[in-house]
Amino acid sequence: MEQLLGWVLQLGVLLAAAVALLGGLFYVFGHAMQAADYRVFQGEPADVTTLGGIVRGAWHLNSRDIVQLGVLILLATPITRVSLSALAFACQRDRTYLIVTALVLALLLASLLTG
């Protein structure tokens, strides 16, 4: 189980990195000499802050959205890890830690949904 967990994590991280690299290369080669000014906070447009916007943008090969899709995959790795741990505790019939892990997962999802 530990081995499987390690393997899944590695796969998720590599996938996230590959997607972000692809989008990033597109973006950097398109805007290499453009000034990168982040001194003033402007927030981000809706296409990179919402799940739907990111997926739609990435589908249309918008480089910023492809990077953001990679970010989303990365953000999903800890959630996947907790879910798999819950599964592992269930298999071991460890009731205490199944509850503990389920609680962590619930808190995680609650904060993701309220955001």
């Binding site: 994590l9 447009p45 962590v104 993701l112 955001g115």
Partner: protein, 280 residues
């Protein structure tokens, strides 16, 4: 004069590699390097920096986790139990963060770093004496072993309740500052729970990713996560974290602690100066 996209990407990537190595070795996550680098070197607004730090913390955690899980360093039971407190704390902290001006946030972050450094440096002078199993930890099935030079050594977590309470504070800070607040986690597990140093750092490494993910939704929807900053940070930190996780086995905790303490003090002073300057 703002750098162009190519310069920013390459420099940020290099800095992120260092952040990933340091983060994976210490269990602090890369945020502690990424935030000052972005705000001080590239003059990036604190909120973008916090967004990038969140990415770096999750990348460090997941990047190093694969090998830590396989090697058997991190204690998933301890991590998961404490994570309940941290996640709940982080959830409350992230809501308050948007209401506080960024300069004040920088000062708070700086003071927090100074405190972390002081405790890190002091910790070295104490020596852990061998301890017997703690009833609470035993009931919670937390006693375990970890790899040492020849085979495995047993260890017994102490004062579970106090550590749990401290983790709630760590969670609140991380939600407030957008960092994994790994320092407080490592120190609590190291000094109060009396886990072996490498177990503390690798278990913290597991926890910071989960804590950070809890506030990721809020930061994403508020527009703190910019893809142009996120890409080099994420890729650099992953390379660093893979490297760091391989170095951990050979690394001596004593040297790391000292080095880290000094680096943190320097960064803390810079952050406070930066925050106060923006205020005036």
């Amino acid at each position: 004069m703002a750098p162009n996209v190519l310069e920013l990407t390459l420099l940020l990537w290099l800095g992120a590699v260092v952040a990933g190595i340091v983060g994976a070795l210490t269990g602090l996550g890369g945020g502690i390097v990424i935030v000052p680098m972005l705000t001080l070197l590239f003059k990036v607004d604190m909120r973008y920096a916090i967004g990038a730090a969140l990415i770096s913390v999750i990348a460090t955690s997941s990047g190093a986790a694969a090998s830590y899980v396989r090697e058997g360093y991190s204690n998933i039971r301890v991590g998961m139990f404490l994570e309940v407190a941290t996640t709940a704390g982080a959830l409350s902290g992230a809501f308050v963060a948007g209401l506080i001006p960024t300069s004040a946030l920088a000062v708070v972050f700086g003071l927090f770093l100074l405190y972390s450094a002081a405790v890190t440096l002091r910790a070295q002078h104490e020596t852990a004496e061998p301890v017997s199993p703690d009833p609470t930890a035993t009931r919670l099935n937390m006693n375990s072993t970890y790899p040492v030079a020849h085979g495995h050594a047993a260890y017994y977590p102490q004062r579970v309740g106090l550590t749990w309470a401290l983790m709630a504070v760590a969670g609140l800070l991380s939600g407030l500052l957008g960092i994994g607040s790994g320092a407080l986690k490592v120190l609590a597990m190291d000094r109060i729970m009396r886990l072996p140093f490498k177990v503390s750092t690798t278990t913290s490494n597991f926890m910071i990713g989960v804590t950070a993910a809890a506030s990721a939704g809020i930061y994403l929807s508020r527009g703190y996560i910019d893809p142009v900053l996120a890409m080099p940070v994420m890729l650099g930190v992953l390379v660093g974290a893979f490297t760091g996780s391989r170095l951990l086995v050979a690394a001596t905790p004593a040297v790391l602690r000292t080095l880290l303490g000094v680096v943190i003090v320097a960064l803390a002073i810079e952050m406070i100066v930066h925050g106060v300057a923006a205020w005036i």
